[in-house]
Symmetry: C2
Subunit: 393 residues, 2 copies
């Protein structure tokens, strides 16, 4: 196990009707004027935003609203938010929505105290040094942004998707009410579930030896997703299955399952270019890219993939031919994805094989490699995109 | 799943040589004058205390020392610590040691700002309302106090063991260096491992339905302990096994594996009277009481005990007779405890059957019950103590 630091200071308030406590928690964490940041009008129509703002009013807390966050949130709205927060002297941001809204809120939070262009931080030119406090009222189990130190934003000019990571943007508190996720369409639910599983897989495939505790914790989250996801697809109002998925989504990405081990975020990287170029759902892109990546790299550590097959998907170990077990495990993952309604290849996603050179170019690898479980050069990522084109059951 | 709140704000610094960062972290969290609280002279002799105080000096942070914490920490030293902290105007407490030292430090932390007798809080007469900041440099994987909101102290007059729970006493930071645990005798190591497993079992046996994510997380910790504990008993210097156990110990007790479900702390309660009366190691007491409790309650939910047998101890499911699987699971737990050198009955622990009425009396049940997975009246706890007398393989 490697040395590590772990810090997850977010206070989580989980369960039915918990959004009514938002105002009290803003007060507890010192907010006096709030930006309520949200996405589509559905949060207004459902009455959720009304319940959140009523809880602020109850505590005598002022607020301004900024809606319109799109999936794959854009830099344009972040700039607008920074302006608004400065003008209105807001000192606390509450994101009401899913990962996109939260990531947009985090972008605003780091942009406000920074004198330059917030995109400098997303491009890695300078580190995050300060941020306004952020909190969340989560409406979809997926990104894990409610407990994570990360944010991903897309620059509209060129559709470049880039991210930051800093403990400063871990939410002060996050309100998780699984009821709010019951109205999600099956497709979005499945996209979220895929994202959660990808967050674990990117930690699971490691070159660090002797990491039993985090291996087992990773498998715990994955086993839960394998059991609960088909249940909510079949019955969207299954509260308990929704609740298990929602908490699994946080556990998957606050890094408690990933400490002390090398991680590999190349699937996420390869997917970001896909959803950047086509503006497809991040989870759907991961359903296509994650198994393709697995197919390319599994030779590097056959026994780790066999472990996944046996422990996560419950397959029998083929002791005479562990590679067969590894391959069957990847196949079981694709079967699972198809079962929950996800695409598994370019065509089903709406991506085009002829764009592969563009995708590879945007990754900006040059003559180098993307480091990870297996280091990937240009030829390797090209092959992985090709495997994602060819994939079938 | 039940509604819940989860908050674990402690920053963890994990790995080799991390104690040298203690001073820098005290500074980060605003400490200017520190009480360094510790147990036996072994922390002095090993050079650990010297490294910790050197790191404080390096940051220009003043400190005073208070050693002498015993296993099952006593109220007497807590009173002395409160006096010392007030006199020396200490504003930060660093516990260097195991659960006993940390719990003693937490007692001092809540006692200092309270005008009355700190024992009022441990007796439940008044809630904790303020506390000095506490941090830890952990030397044994066991109590989970490095990340938990709890503290247990023993009142010397009558040997009453009582506890408090409050987010205010969650450590600001905890330094976990698995190397520090390599010198522990096998018996203490095994006691610690048993305590860790008990922390999980007390959350695992629940009446709440549909808690797949926390079930799986519980099992992840237990599976890790089943694998890693015999390895460190056989080879005390196995760093990786020590590291896995040390992180498992934190995960077992910061409540991430226990949220959203009813829990049952009766085994801990029954054990507290044992270790209070005989001053035996808490973990050894748990090795005797936990399986005895299981034997008494398993009829209440045979399938949950069968799940433990299959998922934690890898036993085959007896589909024709699930009760047999449940019983075999409890037996497997006892076999595991014997394998790591733990006692499993009163005689091996040094406790006496004729003291059972005294133990029962001290629990103070009266005509009521102790609530839990199964509610326990006086007759029930008497029977559990009897099962602990009779236990054998």
């Amino acid at each position: 196990m490697d040395n590590f630091q772990f810090y997850s200071p977010t206070e989580f308030i989980f369960g039915k009707d918990t959004e009514s406590q938002c105002g009290a928690y803003v007060k507890k964490y010192g907010g006096t004027k709030v930006l309520v940041h949200y996405g589509s009008q559905s949060a207004v129509k459902s009455g959720l935003l009304g319940r959140v703002t009523a809880s602020l009013e109850k505590e005598g807390i002022e607020y301004v609203m900024l809606g319109g966050v799109q999936p794959n949130p854009r830099d344009v709205l972040v700039y607008e938010g920074i302006e608004l927060v400065r003008r209105e002297k807001v000192d606390f941001i509450v994101a009401v929505g899913g990962g996109s809204v939260i990531d947009s809120a985090k972008g605003i939070a780091v942009g406000v105290p920074y004198a330059g262009d917030f995109w400098d931080m997303y491009e890695g030119k300078i580190p995050v040094q300060a941020a306004l406090p952020v909190a969340t009222v989560l409406t979809i189990a997926a990104a894990g942004s409610e407990g994570s130190p990360s944010s991903v934003v897309t620059k509209e000019d060129g559709m470049f998707k880039r991210g930051i990571g800093s403990d400063l943007i871990r939410p002060r508190f996050s309100i998780l009410n699984p009821m709010l996720t019951c109205t999600l369409p099956a497709y979005q639910t499945a996209c979220g579930a895929t994202d959660i599983m990808a967050h674990v897989f990117e930690r699971y495939f490691t070159n660090t030896k002797e990491v039993e505790i985090t291996d087992r914790l990773c498998e715990a989250v994955l086993q839960t997703m394998v059991k609960e996801t088909p249940r909510v697809i079949a019955d969207p109002n299954n509260y308990d299955a929704r609740a298990n998925i929602m908490w699994a989504g946080m556990v998957a990405h606050n890094n408690i399952v990933g400490v002390g081990r090398s991680q590999d975020w190349n699937s996420h990287g390869l997917e970001h270019e896909l959803s950047g170029l086509y503006d497809v759902a991040h989870g759907a892109g991961l359903a296509v890219m994650m198994p393709a990546w697995m197919e390319y790299v599994y030779h590097h550590d056959v026994m780790r993939f066999a472990q996944m097959a046996v422990r996560v998907f419950g397959l029998p170990m083929n002791f005479a031919n562990p590679e067969d077990t590894a391959v069957q495990g990847i196949r079981a993952f694709r079967e699972f994805l198809v079962k929950i309604g996800m695409p598994i290849n370019f065509e089903q996603l709406g991506a085009k094989a002829e764009d592969i050179p563009v995708l590879v170019e945007k990754l900006g690898i040059g003559d180098g490699v993307r480091e990870g479980f297996v280091n990937l050069d240009k030829a390797a990522v090209t092959r992985i995109y090709e495997l994602a084109v060819e994939a079938s059951l």
